[in-house]
């Protein structure tokens, strides 16, 4: 597939990287030449320097025979104009744009056929905020992901000594919580995936991925670790785009403090936030943290623009007694450096937000893709079409489906019903199937499985 990506920022670069591994031809356009060169040194792709909203630049990037346009520059306006041009002048079949301003999304006309003709509008900040809010709601989880419009959730939990299930084989889960149908889809032990069998024993320190109906999630987590007391006090370091959205989302139900170093920005924040307390200062200022009772915090979330500040602020907060710290880290090397150390959750914004876009790019009818463990594994939700002849999934029992190694079907959503995928469930057309792929290299084989053969169309 030929793909043109506009914008070589954090989002653009990580989109490029993810799509490249799936055998696509990628061209990246940006105003910043040096940044493009750096990207080119690292990845096998083509770059064009210039304004992404200019038809000449787009043409140079080979947009005329592109299959997909991903417009993720800093500017909403550039992205929108590029999408419109791509449709009207170059007939690009699919267009994805990053749109931050909520105003554009209020009226369908703006992005619809009469407007800028954007197929999918993504807002990384919003996705990231929702992701973080989930972590506040479920403070024990490392990751909480929704499938099938929130009916099914996948949680990653680190097993701790003292959880009822710890030290027991997986098949005991059913007898421990007889009322709940849950399924453990993967266990990572010392960063290695173990495909769970009935007799696999869960050890303390394991990272367990568990799939269950969303309402049962809390109960399942209780089996794996002692529950902490619920979160009440939250401190957000960094009042930028994400910090502001997060504070707004949390201020009704939690006691929220926001630290921001820019004085003007503080005033703006204080105006827009209703209950949250806005503090002027640095997230790494020990005195300020002390003054504002960091020791009694349930959660410290560092979301400034600066990786080093986030890491340092989080480490400081942790040392001063914050119960749990979450840090936003853009550089992948840093993420690996700090995860499972002092910082409880290191979050890579690119990884958290890219799923929505990947789902759109994928072949087959893929509704949602979530990357797990910083991109090493993936969980995807696919819709089953066709019949026994045209598709290799439809009409077969789960045990009959030839999945690549390291992959397994976790759950089937049929209408409003959530069925855990036991080996004898027969998959029907229209089902949403949630597949867990612990090795990303096998992803394309899984996707092919769900494709309907050409004869059927």
């Amino acid at each position: 597939m030929k793909i043109v990506i506009l914008g070589a920022g954090q989002v653009g670069a990580s989109v490029a990287e993810s799509l490249l591994s799936e055998q696509n031809d990628i061209t990246v356009v940006d105003l910043d030449g040096p940044r493009l060169r750096a990207l080119q040194d690292r990845l096998d792709l083509r770059t064009v320097t210039g304004n992404a909203a200019h038809p000449g630049v787009l043409r140079e990037a080979g947009i005329e025979d592109a299959d997909l346009l991903v417009a993720v520059t800093q500017s909403d306006e550039t992205n929108l104009v590029a999408c419109k041009l791509a449709t009207r002048m170059f007939n690009v079949p699919r267009r994805v744009a990053r749109v931050r301003a909520a105003d554009f999304l209020q009226d369908e006309q703006v992005l619809g056929r009469e407007g800028f003709e954007v197929d999918l509008a993504i807002c990384p900040e919003q996705v990231l905020t929702e992701y973080l809010v989930k972590l506040v709601e479920f403070p024990e989880a490392l990751q909480v992901l929704d499938f099938a419009d929130g009916r099914v959730s996948l949680v990653a939990v680190r097993a701790f000594q003292g959880g009822p299930m710890v030290g027991r084989p997986i098949r005991d889960l059913r007898s421990h919580v007889p009322s709940v149908d849950a399924r453990i889809v993967a266990v990572f032990r010392q960063d290695k995936a173990i495909l769970p069998e009935g007799d696999t024993v869960i050890l303390a320190g394991d990272e367990v991925f568990c799939l269950a109906a969303s309402r049962d999630i809390r109960q399942v987590m209780q089996e794996l670790r002692r529950m902490d007391r619920p979160v009440r006090r939250v401190m957000i370091a960094g009042g930028g785009n994400i910090g502001q959205r997060l504070a707004r989302a949390l201020e009704r139900d939690y006691s929220v403090k926001v630290i921001e170093h820019n004085k003007r920005r503080c005033e703006l924040l204080a105006e827009r936030l209703e209950r949250a307390l806005v503090l002027s200062g640095d997230a790494t200022d020990e005195e300020l943290l002390e003054q504002e009772g960091v020791g009694e915090l349930d959660l410290f979330i560092a979301v400034t623009n600066d990786d080093e500040n986030n890491i340092m602020g989080s480490l400081l907060a942790k040392r001063m007694g914050a119960r749990r710290v979450v840090s936003l880290i853009n550089r992948r090397s840093y993420v690996d450096l700090v995860q499972s150390g002092q910082i409880d959750i290191a979050l890579s914004p690119a990884q958290a937000t890219i799923g929505q876009l990947l789902a759109h790019v994928r072949r087959g009818d893929v509704v949602a893709v979530h990357s797990l463990r910083r991109g090493a594994a993936e969980a995807l939700e696919a819709v089953v079409h066709g019949d026994r002849e045209s598709c290799r999934v439809t009409g077969r029992r789960v045990e009959e489906i030839e999945l690549p190694p390291g992959s397994l079907i976790g759950a089937v959503v049929r209408g409003d019903q959530v069925l855990m995928a036991h080996h004898d469930i027969r998959i029907e057309a229209g089902d949403h199937v949630i597949v867990f792929v612990s090795d990303k290299r096998n992803l394309s084989r899984v996707e092919k499985l769900f494709q309907v053969s050409a004869g059927f169309l």
Binding site: K263, C266, E267, L269, A270, L277, L279, Q291, E292
Partner: protein
């Protein structure tokens, strides 16, 4: 300073005022109450002064500057009471000019403090004139508060903006101040008509209905009976009066916005309104409870009825009475007089410092307290979701200081002239806040008649200061104002 322009405008107002006197003259002729001679003199004098002033300053430049505005407004509220006093002076036997001027000032500032007794024996047209003064005063106050004071920079335009609910915040109500003033006029007049009809339906005769509608909407409190609303002893009339007093205590800008857009949303969004109603509602409950506990009333319904009427009357700075509340447990009348200082909304016809300033003060105070706990916190003072600039907060603080000093000085002056503390303090508060009746010797069952001339003049000044929001008058006393 363009003195000629000011005099020119004042003359126009005087001519209009002379026309207004034709109404009580008509009533007097119609009822043949024997007061028509009083109006002949008054109308002639007023019209003559107006026409003379107009002719003398004819053809001068018409541009009025902000500074002239202060002089104009102050002059209107000092000269008009003089002419408004003429009918009273001419008809009521034994009334000195001091007393007549006080009564007239009390009317035009919609205060309602009276030193006349035997109101029931006065000619109906004289009582009508007193009430009409309050109605005109109320109208002047609305236009003053909404259209003039913001232009002069007193109170600050942002205060006005914050008060207009919803998307209209950025814009004015209408593109031109002139149109805005007209719209407010119409709302005021329509509410007055509604109130008069309601009173008539509730059992008053036509003349009383109109008179009381005038003094209700102006939040003045003059009545044609010594017993005020106690004369009828009708729960229905009291309920109507309570309703319309509450309505007049709401910003007319909010009323106008609601009428203009045919929606109740402006009321919902009016940040001030909520506190106003809450405060008055809570006060009624507390006072009623106190009355039952103290045994003034045996049953709750009677206590609630009296508490509701008198609390609303005092808190909205009207000043009607159905009971001698100065005889109630002492907390009740003091509390009523206290909340009268700030209960009404800005842009209403009520007096005092207005709920908006009170809310800002409380917010500012809590902000300072919060800052002690969180020294690095950025805490804006917000009203209705909008941030109030620090400049406005400072202005409000300065206003409060001036208000406090004024109230204290007047109280001290009155005690120096021999009044007891309760009478002095309550009279000062009642006049500065434009309530009307005070406590002690000037309580609801008494009048201001026993005061000496000097005391009367002090309180006349107090009413003027309170009505013109202090700053309008005090700015004239600063040297900077007169410097070129």
């Amino acid at each position: 300073m363009h003195f000629a322009v000011v005099v020119n405008l004042l003359s126009v107002v005087l001519i209009a005022f002379a026309f207004a006197m034709l109404v009580p003259l008509g009533i007097s002729l119609h009822l043949d109450d024997g007061a028509e001679r009083a109006y002949d003199i008054a109308i002639l004098a007023t019209a003559f002064a107006g026409v003379a002033g107009y002719l003398a300053t004819r053809g001068r430049p018409k541009a009025l500057q902000a500074r002239d505005g202060f002089v104009f407004v102050t002059l209107v509220w000092t000269v008009l009471p003089g002419f408004g006093a003429l009918p009273l002076l001419a008809h009521v036997p034994g009334l000195s000019f001091t007393d007549a001027y006080f009564e007239s000032m009390s009317g035009l500032t919609a205060t309602g403090a009276t030193l006349l007794s035997g109101l029931d024996q006065l000619p109906p047209s004289i009582n009508f004139w007193r009430c009409a003064l309050q109605w005109m005063g109320g109208l002047g106050v609305i236009v003053l508060a909404v259209a003039v004071l913001p232009l002069l920079g007193v109170g600050g335009r942002q205060l006005l903006k914050a008060e207009i609910p919803g998307p209209m915040k950025e814009a004015q109500l209408t593109p031109r101040i002139h149109e805005t003033a007209k719209g407010l006029w119409l709302v005021y007049a329509a509410l007055t008509v509604a109130c008069a009809l309601a009173y008539r339906w509730g059992g008053m005769d036509w003349l009383d209905a109109v008179m009381h509608a005038f003094s209700t909407l102006g939040l003045g409190g003059f009545s044609s009976h010594d017993a005020s609303f106690g004369y009828w002893n009708s729960p229905l009339l009291e309920a109507i009066a309570v309703a319309f007093m509450l309505v007049a205590g709401i910003s007319f800008v909010t009323h106008f916005a609601a009428v203009h857009r045919v929606s109740a949303m402006p009321y919902w969004r009016d940040a001030e309104l909520r506190y106003y109603l809450l405060l008055i509602g809570a006060s009624i409950a507390v006072v009623a409870g106190l009355l039952v506990m103290a045994g003034t009333h045996a049953d709750w319904s009677g206590a609630l009825r009296e508490a509701a009427f008198n609390v609303v009357s005092v808190a909205t700075t009207t000043g009607y009475a159905t009971a001698d509340y100065s005889a109630w447990p002492v907390f009740a009348p003091l509390w009523m007089l206290f909340i009268a200082a700030f209960a009404t909304c800005s842009g209403s016809t009520g007096g005092g410092i207005k709920m908006m300033r009170a809310v800002l003060l409380v917010r500012q105070a809590t902000r300072e307290l919060e800052r002690l706990v969180h020294p690095r916190a950025v805490i804006p003072v917000k009203l209705g979701g909008l941030v109030v600039e620090n400049r406005i907060i400072f202005a409000v603080l300065a206003y409060m200081l001036i208000y406090g000093v004024t109230l204290a000085s007047i109280t001290l002056l009155l005690t120096a002239t021999g009044l007891d503390l309760l009478t002095a303090l309550s009279a000062a508060a009642a006049c500065v806040n434009n309530v009307g009746p005070g406590l002690g010797a000037v309580g609801p069952a008494q009048t201001y008649a026993l005061l000496s001339d000097f005391q009367t003049w002090i309180l006349t000044l107090a009413m003027l200061l309170g009505r013109l929001e202090l700053l309008t008058v005090f700015v004239l006393l600063t040297p900077a104002f007169w410097r070129r």
